[in-house]
Amino acid sequence: MVTLKINDQEVKVAEGTTVLEAAKKLGVNIPTLCNHPDLCVAGNCRVCVVEQTGARTLIAACAMPVSEGMDIHTNSLKVRNARKHIVELLLSEHRADCTKCYKNQKCELQTLANEYSFGEHIFLDLVENHPYIVDRSSPAFIKDDSKCIRCQRCVRTCAQLQHVSAIAVANKGAHMKISSFHDRPMSHVVCTNCGQCVNRCPTGALTEKTYIDQVWDAIYDTDKHVVVQTAPAVRVALGEDLGYDPGERVTGKMVTALRQLGFDSVLDTDFTADLTIIEEGTELLTRLKKVLVENDHSMALPMFTSCSPGWIKFIEHKYPKMLPNLSTCKSPQQMFGALAKTFYAQKRNIDPSKVVSVSIMPCTAKKYEADRPEMRSSGYKDIDFVLTTRELAVMIKQAGIDFRTLEPTHYDSLMGSSTGAAVIFGATGGVMEAALRTAYEIVTGKPVPFKNLNIMPVRGMDGVKEATVKIEGTTEEWRFLEGAELKVAIAHGLVNANKVAKAVSTGKANYHFIEIMACPGGCIGGGGQPIPTNVEVRQKRMDAIYSEDMHMDLRKSHENPEVIAIYNEFLEKPNGHKSHELLHTHYIERESY
């Protein structure tokens, strides 16, 4: 233990603790900008400088480990003057169009400016000194360099959490900027649109591309029938943007709010999550049979899940040789979209050209996914608009809805029913757990041999998880799997996905089925989720997901009555002709820069 003094208060902390953490322990707040709990220390914004008695210079609290006898002052005149200068310097290179900015009142620089830089600015405005690019090329997000304060949170996110490095630092000195390979537009580089950078940007330099106005236009267009679907992870995070603590489940209130916003039908992505399990589970069993029994290697093992559009783009760029290993199932969002303008429109007797399909997602990559040319199997654009959890919160505020006082209601009935298996899609390991609950039962006629159906080995925040499920007591049809050990792996965050993909591509791993989610923690930590994010927040959202699962009457996808019905009435059979037409897709090899 190390003893030091901060603002004349003594504190004892473990060796290796930073001054910033030690101060936090005392309840002393030191402002930060480039620092983020998910990322390695950068120490480059210098907002957190503090005075150490005897030191020649001020020190960056985020980067300085404590040492015995340190005497730190966090609010001395020297510190205040330097901090004011630093905030002023950042403001001088930042286009402070606050009232026009999507991040207005949610901007960390603005908060600091309120504390340190009111009144006249000291320094000259440098914004016009440089030609800035506003990159709107991605359907998922906007990169506005004129608002960038070069804290490099995005760069560290992209490299350290996602192993993508679509953005990196270019040039030096006054010309230093965050850029892509050869300054290409973000739509033409290795970017997966995961939005993790958007989630961590302290200013409005990286924001989701918003479609709020387009959705309002559709809602008020009397000619249109607007259906909305909500992803599993939205319901456990939306509350954070509306004044609730992390981990609050607001499913019922959210449904009521969506109805009040004017959507014609409020439906659940969970329905197609359950459908995904049937399709993907069947696909897995087919692949196992082809490869293991019929020795037909036209189908590849292991099979990767395909729910996460960030992961899809990652593998298309980085491991195109493994595209045959990717399940051909569309993500639940896109299955929903394809069915909304076919099955749903038929059943409700609506002209599919009048259906506007909106989805509320924890994700920015879903905006990109909806724009993929493959995603028009209904004959129309299957999903018209994708909004993030954050955008939905904005709409609720715009509509003047007092969210807290809302009475919870249920989803509408057609394509609105779900199971606990679908809800847990929102957390890393959830798709795997849901798939195992169903696949095991198909093969053996019995529930998975885990207490309360909770398959604990696939849960939790470990970057890569592995499990083996022994298949025993198979039915006649699946006798070839008797005694087999199904080896599965789960990875979340693309840096971990890369580890697994690399192991598979080099023949070092021997799995049958692998679940990958692009974002840390799975969809609960998606790029479209409320800001801020950190390990604790994600854990609370995850706990809420599993609690939602436990509260459901039905917890196995194949028991979803609407899923059973849609096969009887429309799709005929899993992986059948109609399924392939509407619910399955193909992938594209992409360049690796």
């Binding site: 300085m64 003057n81 330097a82 200068h85 310097l89 320094f123 070069r150 630092v169 000195g173 230093m176």
Partner: protein, 386 residues
């Protein structure tokens, strides 16, 4: 204190029997070598002036099987060109310094990070390196040296940015601590020394610390190679004993009309004529990595300052706020004052900003921008305004 006066010496470029020194060092223990350097009082010749003996001692104390000796030959300070001359004329002494440092610290591997613009020196340097390797391996040393090339960024002369560059990353300074002696190149204990420091260390081992301390002053031991340029009839490389005043220096090298001397390059200090007599060149006065630039009365100090600020605004790595934005503000600020677009009192704000940069920047680059800025603005304010 009586100053030493100006004395020319010839130690760095002096031809010595390198094999003899290497044999002598081979028979010394690690402690003996380090103590010799400690006793000499040698301070780093790159400009920062950290005691070399301490650096070696700290690195030697690390219990890590892999350690590195890095020679910083990324000479980039405006007005400095001495390391080029040393490498050109006395490369074997540079190699010798590295091998002796390796022996003292238990390192088997050395890297020379050579300024990109000095690539033309390489063919000859390789020939000498080959001979040197052969010679020391015969004596029994287990030490090899490799070259790594810079690519023109000034910041890569900063030790931790230099490591990043060698490791294949963008040259950006790291947070310190950990210091290089604990975690440097490839996160291993590393002693990084300037070209001239290493040659001086060889000289100390050859002649003994007791001989060496006869030169220089208490705070600035020994002699130093100066790169002299600007308004002087005799520009070039000169080795001088430390301890002279700027006046004595100007008497020797000035053109009779010297109004200011920039000591230590763009990151050093500007000494005006009125301070020539009482300013010692060395750690008790104005330290320098070697750059001495003389300006006569035909020069506009605004242009001099503008040139330096332009340089820094370009060569800051751009990582930390005070340096990246501060350099641009200082540059644009003096331009606006000159053009009359900002009040002359705005210079006071800029001086305060320079103070912030000095205490809040991440590395030595940003911390030293204020040196030139303040010393020019304070001494030649009227030239900046009018």
């Amino acid at each position: 204190m009586k100053n030493k006066g100006l004395t020319k010496v010839d130690l760095i470029f002096e031809t010595i029997d390198v094999r003899k020194v290497m044999t002598k060092a081979f028979e010394m223990t690690s402690d003996e070598i380090i103590n010799e350097i400690l006793e000499s009082g040698l301070k780093g010749r790159g400009g920062a002036g950290f005691p070399t003996g301490l650096k070696w001692k700290y690195t030697a104390a690390e219990q890590e099987p892999e350690k590195y000796i890095v020679c910083n030959a990324d000479e980039g300070e405006p007005g400095t060109f001495k390391d080029r001359e040393i490498l050109d004329k006395a490369a074997s002494k540079v190699y010798a310094g590295m091998a002796i440092a390796g022996k003292a610290m238990g390192s088997k591997k050395g890297f020379i990070y050579l300024r990109g613009e000095y690539r033309f020196l390489l063919p000859q340097l390789f020939v000498e390196l080959h001979k040197f390797h052969k010679m020391i391996h015969e004596i029994g040393y287990d030490f090899t040296i490799e070259y790594r090339m810079g690519s023109g960024a000034y910041i890569c002369g900063e030790e931790s940015a230099l490591f990043e560059s060698i490791e294949g990353f963008r040259g950006e300074p790291r947070n310190k601590p950990p210091y290089p002696t604990v975690s440097g190149l490839f996160s291993k204990p590393t002693s990084i020394n300037n070209v001239e420091t290493l040659v001086t260390a060889v000289m100390i081992i050859e002649k003994g610390a007791n001989e060496y301390v006869k030169l220089g002053t208490k705070d600035s031991r020994g002699s130093k190679v100066f790169s002299i340029s600007g308004d002087t009839p005799i520009p070039g490389i000169f080795e001088l004993e430390l301890g002279m005043t700027v006046q004595e220096f100007v008497n020797e090298f000035g053109d009779g009309d010297t109004k200011a001397v920039q000591v230590g390059g763009a990151s050093g200090f500007c000494v005006p004529r009125k301070r020539f007599g009482d300013t010692i060149i060395g750690f008790e006065g104005v330290p320098t990595g070697g750059s001495m630039k003389l300006f006569n009365s035909s020069r506009s100090m605004y242009n001099v300052l503008h040139n330096y600020l332009d340089f820094f605004a370009e060569e800051s790595c751009g990582q930390c706020t005070p340096c990246r934005v501060g350099c641009q503000q200082l540059l644009k600020g003096v331009e606006n004052v000159k053009k009359g677009e900002a009040k002359s009192t705005y210079l006071n704000e800029l001086v305060k900003l320079a103070d912030t940069m000095k205490v809040a920047s991440k590395c030595g680059l940003g911390q030293s921008v204020g040196n030139a800025f303040k010393s020019i603005v304070e001494n030649f304010r009227e030239e900046i305004i009018y």
